[in-house]
């Protein structure tokens, strides 16, 4: 089992390298379509034409596009991620500050989405062929129809502005100082021995996590329900009943285990989309993650930042889909043993 998983990881790694190369090339080409001159942008506005020309030369902008790409790639590989034009700081610093925040947000949201989705799916299945099912089904479509950034705004309006139960700006109340150990705030507050700061950080995360988690859950719920329905058509379910097993055991031991497999493969895709959702949700809650960085960079046409943040999103998606595939491998003996 361990060997199979390692083999799969190795294969995924081998595929990930060309994928990332293509992604990087794609980013590079798309952003070169822009009618802006990166050389001029990286100089103060009062720079002379000569200075701009010198800069173009220095940045290699006069060379053919593929060469430029290779130069950029070489810089990336040597650890040089470039300078942000807008922030005048190394891109690497900006990204390494923002990345943990986004990972924390996405991770907690996935947990919420899974819990809500699986519970909803089981409930909808349990009430199959009854009026309650129609109600559950209908509300899942309603939930599905509100995209995550609108969930964020509505939750903010209700729980932040009107009821004032929860904070909805930034990550910590102002009286706390931010400890930096691993970069993951929830972890760091705990490591620093500040449970009060941890609680504050947690409270700040509730609304964004709910917005992302809830909006990702209906898809999980609906697929789980329908694959449970499919599974219950299978002979082994009937045979389990003929052996005298009770319904609860049939559902939990035989039904759910099998029906979870298609659900899991949907979750791989769904969680990739969820990273896209973090983008606007971060903006709405002024949450200092990659999304905010990305939007700032886009507003300022900060190409070096856009490129690296874009790559960062791709790497996160690749990691999550690898993790999901790995789980799938563990849970599905048909793939594991032949």
């Amino acid at each position: 089992m361990f060997a199979t998983i390692m083999k799969m990881l190795l294969r995924r790694l081998l595929v990930a390298i060309p994928t990332l190369l293509v992604v990087a090339a794609l980013l590079f080409v798309v952003l070169r379509l822009l009618p802006v001159d990166p050389a001029a942008m990286s100089l103060p506005p009062n720079a002379t034409n000569d200075e701009v020309a010198a800069m173009r030369e220095a940045m290699g902008l006069n060379r053919p596009l593929p060469v430029q790409f290779l130069i950029w790639l070489g810089q990336l590989l040597s650890g040089d991620f470039g300078m942000s034009i807008a922030f005048r700081r190394p891109v690497w610093d900006l990204v390494s500050e923002a990345l943990p925040a986004t990972i924390e947000l996405a991770f907690l949201s996935m947990i919420v989405a899974t819990v809500v989705g699986v519970a909803g799916g089981l409930l909808a299945f349990y009430f199959r062929d009854r009026t309650a099912e129609a109600a559950i089904d209908f509300s899942s479509i309603v939930v599905l129809s509100l995209p995550e950034f609108l969930w964020a705004l509505m939750l903010m309006l209700i729980f932040g502005v009107w009821l004032q139960w929860l904070p909805f700006m930034l990550r910590l109340d102002p009286q706390f100082e931010r400890p930096v150990i691993t970069g993951f705030l929830l972890l760091d507050t705990l490591l620093a021995g500040r449970p009060d700061a941890f609680m504050s950080a947690l409270r700040h995360m509730i609304l964004p996590v709910m917005a992302l988690g809830i909006s990702a859950s209906p898809a999980i719920m609906r697929v789980l329900r329908s694959s449970l329905l499919d599974t219950y058509q299978e002979d082994y379910i009937h045979q389990a009943r003929l052996r005298g097993l009770d319904e609860r055991r049939v559902l939990l031991r035989h039904g759910l285990k099998n029906a979870f497999l298609p659900t899991l493969s949907l979750m791989g895709v769904q969680f990739g989309f969820l990273f896209g959702g973090t983008l606007l949700v971060e903006v709405i809650f002024s949450y200092p993650g990659l999304g905010n960085l990305m939007i700032d960079a886009i507003r300022n046409v900060d190409l070096p930042v856009i490129q690296i943040v874009g790559l960062a999103y791709c790497i996160m998606v690749l990691v999550i889909s690898t993790v999901v595939d790995m789980l799938y491998l563990v849970l599905n003996p048909k793939l594991r043993v032949r």
Partner: protein
């Protein structure tokens, strides 16, 4: 006292259109340790009886009347929990599709352990070693190799026959009083079938278990059952000791079914073809008299009006008929006279050393792993000849067929059609082959586009030739006529037809361009014997009318024996034997052919002896 007594039990299905009776006043008894066979065409309600006893009816089905006693207990009054306690302990089930009946994500060991816990023999508290020991013993008793290893396997790693052995082992773990086996061998290969049947019989005798054996195979029922119940459209039309029922059938239906089966050995005879098919659930209400009347060769006026009485025709032998005494008068048509091949017939098709390898795993930098589905097969076929290809599933029969029609390219070897080389896959060859060779696919469900009307399907070949609408309609009518369907059927969709009708449409489509050779892949398997007999007659009719050659692929040797001039036996991708049908059947040369013949149910030795002989093979 009888173990199971069923008294006037009826089961009905209710929907928006009303209530429909699925099982009508069943009345029979089963003594401890005896084997009762339930036979009849599919849809007669055989499986429903098993589900009624388990009290696990599908949604909207319920028992409307009657009394059902198991071991002195009133089954219709026991609560759900009590019922569950009986299931798996006192009443065990063996399913039709063994591979599908085991949970794919749990190991065999986990599933056996769960069952042991349920029947109170695993008792979660006991140490791991204990249940393993019990499980290994049980698997050993069903002659599985390496039972300890099997415990850690998943179902998909095992064959259908092995899975069925596991399910049999599980069923007998609790020493049940009653075993219900629903078509336990239908999904298995002939050679495996005999062993599984033998095993069930063996276990049954050893544990003194009573068995309800559901099957549509009369020969099988005759071989293993003490009593037989014949079911037709939810009615119990005949019940009695197996020897009585099969030697002196009282009901015309039983007799007709027997005569619809091609004999596996002995004298050749014609097949009795029952017209039409069993009435569906919904139409039963309108039938006043005998439900079999529309198809019965003995039917007379009163049969259509007066429900027939349950007549005792022998000791413990009852039949539901107005005139059971006339039944023995139903005679089979005479044997076919076709078995004379024209020795001067021209050679139509020749294949030499044809093979096909599938890539099972592509490898970087290395030669891919391949699997030889067909190895060096050679055959000759004369004009007007009927050639049968037999062999177990996976032996390469279908692959060979696909190579012969050109659906797939060969990995080696040559083929000649009417003297022209057709080994290649180029356009010219394809067109030439298309004109002369057509194929009928196995599963009409998959072979007929559900979105096309029948008329369109049968004339599909004219679509590329830009046939006009009128031309196509005329041709469709001709073709439907030829295969024995009414021309109005052209307007139907496949979903509106029965299995037998679909298979006819399937054949008609291949006939549209008047091919000289028809390749028919398992076209009668999975069909009821009455429908099978109808289709076999159709093929013979085509042979007479069109002087066409047919390659008939089948796993049923008696069908090949009935229909074909020559037979070709395949085993693991190789042709192990070919020759005249009568010669091969009478005097098989290859080991595998002998084994295959021995495994046929019916006129041969009793199952138990066969089983012993079979084990030596495995």
């Amino acid at each position: 006292m009888s173990l199971l007594s069923v008294n006037g039990v009826s089961v009905a299905f209710a929907n928006a259109l009303g209530t429909f009776t699925v099982l009508d006043k069943l009345t029979f008894e089963l003594q401890p340790g005896k084997v009762l066979g339930l036979v009849g065409e599919s849809g007669a309600g055989k499986s429903m009886i098993g589900r009624t006893i388990a009290q696990l009816l599908p949604n909207r089905f319920h028992v409307t009347e009657g009394d059902l006693r198991f071991d002195g207990r009133d089954m219709l009054k026991t609560g759900a929990a009590e019922q569950r306690a009986l299931l798996g302990r006192d009443i065990a089930f063996i399913p039709q599709e063994p591979l599908a009946a085991l949970d794919p994500v749990l190991t065999i060991g986990q599933q056996i352990r769960e069952h042991l816990d349920h029947i109170g023999r695993g008792a979660g508290r006991r140490p791991e070693r204990d249940w393993r020991k019990v499980a290994i013993e049980a698997l050993d008793a069903v002659h599985l190799h390496d039972p300890a290893g099997v415990l850690d396997k998943y179902p998909h790693q095992l064959s259908g026959g092995m899975c069925q052995r596991i399910l049999i082992a599980m069923a007998f773990l609790s020493q049940p009083k009653l075993l219900i086996a629903d078509e336990p061998t239908t999904a298995l290969d002939v050679s495996v079938q005999a062993r599984i049947v033998g095993l069930i019989g063996d276990m049954q005798r050893r544990h003194g278990t009573a068995v309800i054996f559901i099957t549509h195979d009369l020969r099988l029922a005759r071989e293993i059952c003490d009593d037989v119940l014949v079911l037709y459209a939810g009615k119990q039309v005949e019940f009695g000791p197996a020897s009585e029922v099969f030697e002196r059938p009282g009901h015309p239906y039983t007799r007709a079914l027997q005569l619809a089966i091609p004999p596996a050995a002995g004298e050749h005879r014609g097949l009795f073809t029952l017209p039409d098919r069993m009435p569906g659930l919904m139409s039963l209400k309108q039938m006043g008299g005998c439900r079999f009347a529309p198809r019965c060769p003995l039917a007379e006026a009163r049969c259509h009006e007066v429900p027939p009485p349950d007549v005792t025709v022998g000791p413990g032998h009852r039949a539901l008929c107005h005139k059971p005494e006339a039944t023995p008068g139903i005679a089979p048509p005479p044997a076919l006279e076709h078995r004379h091949r024209d020795p001067d017939a021209q050679l139509l098709f020749r294949a030499r050393d044809v093979s096909r390898h599938y890539i099972t795993r592509a490898r970087l930098f290395r030669k891919p792993d391949t699997f030889p589905a067909v190895r060096s097969a050679s055959l000759d076929l004369a004009e007007g000849e009927f050639l049968g290809i037999v062999g177990e599933s996976g032996s390469g029969k279908s692959t060979l067929a696909r190579l012969l029609v050109g659906l797939e390219g060969t990995s080696g070897g040559t083929m000649e059609l009417l003297g022209r080389d057709v080994s290649g896959m180029d356009r010219g060859t394809a067109a030439f082959r298309r004109e002369n060779v057509q194929m009928v696919f196995q599963d009409p469900q998959s072979a007929l586009n559900p979105r096309r009307r029948v008329g369109e399907i049968v004339t599909q070949a004219m679509e590329v030739m830009n046939g006009s609408r009128a031309d196509r309609a005329t041709r469709a009518a001709e073709l439907l006529q030829e295969i024995g369907l009414s021309p109005e059927m052209a307007q139907r969709y496949p979903s509106q037809m029965s299995g037998g009708q679909k298979q006819r449409v399937n054949i008609a489509r291949a006939l549209c361009t008047v091919p000289r050779l028809l390749i028919a892949d398992e076209i009668v398997s999975g069909l009821d014997v009455s429908v099978q007999a109808q289709l076999l007659e159709l093929l013979l009719h085509l042979r007479r009318e069109r002087a066409m050659s047919i390659i008939l692929i089948s796993h049923d040797l008696s069908v090949v024996r009935y229909l074909c001039d020559r037979v070709l036996v395949m085993y693991r991708g190789e042709v192990v034997e070919q020759g005249e049908v009568d010669a091969v059947f009478a005097n098989p040369q290859a080991d595998y052919t002998r084994k295959l013949l021995a495994a046929m149910p019916g006129e041969g030795a009793p199952a138990a002896e066969k089983f012993a002989a079979e084990e030596a093979f495995a």
